[in-house]
């Protein structure tokens, strides 16, 4: 084999290795990114954070939370109505978050309070400058008056 042929072979081998490496790297990045931006991961996060906020709140508190990331993920997953992202069940003391068309992630809060709309009468407030969730914490059924 002549020298030119040998050099060509070496370059070709390295190019193939490099292409395989890039494909692998991009694939891995896409995998990690999909996991980090997955609806289930963020549902888990928001449900637990909301339960924490409610557990530490007192009747009369008005809570305002930045939920921009949640709305972005919900939009990506074709959730049509953002008012359905967060739901509060005051009978079972449960908060549920749904960022995709599938099931919702739910978590119980032990604080005996009820969660209702604030004065605006809606959960979601858009572009303030980011999307925010507003709610008011009231006395629960089992509490002393």
């Amino acid at each position: 084999m002549n020298k030119k042929g040998t050099i060509g072979d070496i370059v070709m081998d390295n190019v193939i290795y490099l292409i395989l490496l890039i494909i692998f790297f991009v694939g891995m990045m896409a995998f990690v990114n999909s996991k980090m931006n997955g609806a289930v991961v963020w549902e888990d996060y928001y449900a637990k954070e909301l339960a924490k906020v409610i557990d530490l709140s007192k009747p009369g508190d008005v809570i305002v939370l930045d939920v921009q990331k949640a709305t972005e993920i919900a939009q990506k997953n074709k959730v049509a109505n953002f008012e359905d992202i967060f739901s509060f069940d005051n009978i079972n003391n449960e908060v549920c978050v749904r960022l995709s068309l599938g099931k919702a992630s739910c978590y119980y809060y032990f604080n005996e309070v009820s969660v209702t709309y604030d004065e605006s009468g809606k959960w979601m407030h858009y572009a303030e400058p980011v999307n925010r969730l507003h709610f008011k914490v009231m006395k629960g059924e089992g509490q002393n008056a």
């Binding site: 692998f24 888990d44 637990k48 924490k52 739901s87 003391n93 549920c96 119980y108």
Partner: protein, 168 residues
């Protein structure tokens, strides 16, 4: 090309693919363990529960813990401390020990000083295999007006709650 060189090249390709596989498996496993299943909230929840009970005893006073009304109706604990009975009974455990000098005394199931116990607080057993995940122990001093003395309180709170996927 020389036969030996061809063999060497084939081994290199195999090594390359093997390395990619090992690194890829490492990244997938690492991602799964770090962000895959769910982030553990049990310790934070147990801490919040013990904090809430401590605040309740400090704000409401401790005399009701020894009252006949409380002995007759232990559910008064939930009302006084603003806790939801069903949620606590299904996901948490609480044990309140007034006059307990240390945690081990409160952990003793035969301790007659424990005024309130709900659920299994075995998560807080240091001899257990659970490594105390979801366990919170708070110890604090409270001034007892009746006895005119400062008494030590131990509160044990646990959480075993996990996220649920509901079709809501």
């Amino acid at each position: 090309m020389h036969k030996k060189a061809q063999l060497g090249e084939q081994i290199m390709v195999f090594m390359f693919i093997f390395l990619m596989f090992v690194i890829g498996a490492g990244i997938v496993l690492g991602t799964y363990f770090f962000i895959g299943p769910e982030f553990d909230f049990r310790n934070a929840e147990a801490d919040m529960l013990s904090y809430k009970i401590k605040e309740c005893i400090l704000n409401e006073g401790s005399s009701w813990l020894y009252s006949d009304e409380f002995k007759k109706n232990p559910d008064l604990f939930y009302t006084k401390c603003s806790l939801n009975k069903e949620v606590i009974e299904n996901n948490n455990a609480i044990r309140v020990c007034p006059r307990a000098a240390e945690v081990n005394i409160c952990l003793d199931p035969n301790n007659p000083e424990a005024v309130f116990t709900v659920g299994s607080y075995g998560l807080c057993d240091p001899a257990g295999s659970n490594k105390l995940v979801g366990c919170s122990v708070v110890s604090f001093g409270n001034f007892e007006v009746k006895e005119n003395a400062l008494r030590n309180y131990v509160i044990i709170a646990t959480s075993k709650q996990k996220i649920r996927r509901n079709a809501k």
